[in-house]
Symmetry: C2
Subunit: 146 residues, 2 copies
């Protein structure tokens, strides 16, 4: 299996606090949301995000990405660095297949633990009761990281 991430790209992605996830809605339109995420160790690495209950979250809105993934598992993610010094601009595009993984299912506990390591905010939230989105990465493209 080809590892789609080189080391520096993986470090850039893993260090970012927020990514943007695109799922495909019933009309074939990209549905875009910012997500908190973590990279799970593995070959290749897996990207994990929890379908969480952040303050002010609107239930119906939240579920759109889950419904979309159940219909079409293909997703795109972009992770980028903005800087007013434009020579520092950089981004990484990631494509893959997403799965909705419920509590108790393989991979769920590892995702929750890794997300709580990265985000202290999650330690006080009952995210262990929430489904996670696990993304098997199939393609990575980067720009500006060299």
């Amino acid at each position: 299996m080809i590892h789609p991430f080189d080391t520096s790209t993986l470090a850039f992605v893993a260090g970012m606090r927020v990514a943007r996830l695109a799922t495909i809605d019933a009309d074939g339109m990209p549905s875009l949301v910012p997500i908190c995420f973590a990279v799970l160790d593995g070959e290749p690495p897996v990207i994990a995000s929890v379908v969480d209950e952040k303050p002010k979250r609107v239930a119906d809105r939240e579920l759109a990405r889950v419904r979309n993934i159940r219909r079409d598992s293909r997703v795109s993610i972009v992770v980028d660095r903005y800087d007013e010094e434009w020579s520092r601009l950089a981004w990484v595009q990631i494509r893959g297949r997403a799965r909705i993984v419920e509590p108790g299912v393989d991979g769920h506990a590892d995702a929750i633990e890794t997300l709580r390591e990265k985000y202290p905010q999650y330690r006080a939230m009952a995210i262990e009761r929430r489904p996670v989105i696990l993304i098997d990465v199939s393609r990575v493209r980067s720009w500006g990281l060299a």
Copy 2:
């Protein structure tokens, strides 16, 4: 015509330095890139971005969004605020139809001028010779701005 932006949402969007744009590729997959953009006055407002030549830009990669828009004009944009204080998280999802507008065509000069007002970086770049992407907004959804 219904104005899809309320004042506070428009101010939030217009003030952001970077947005993420999703176009639809030939396989129906979302193609995601960070973009610099400006909001053009109008009823409703139009979002403008230039197909620019930032340092290190890869020509082939750059054209993907243009090719995608010519095939399917539907686009999604997300503008968001990340903060470690998660009560401050907010985002705005925008959907619309995009057009590629060449130099000399209606709307091009206004877009270049507005982009240069917002981004001093563009003043030293020959973006007036580049096509712009103009997005007619059809739907706006926000979360966390109230």
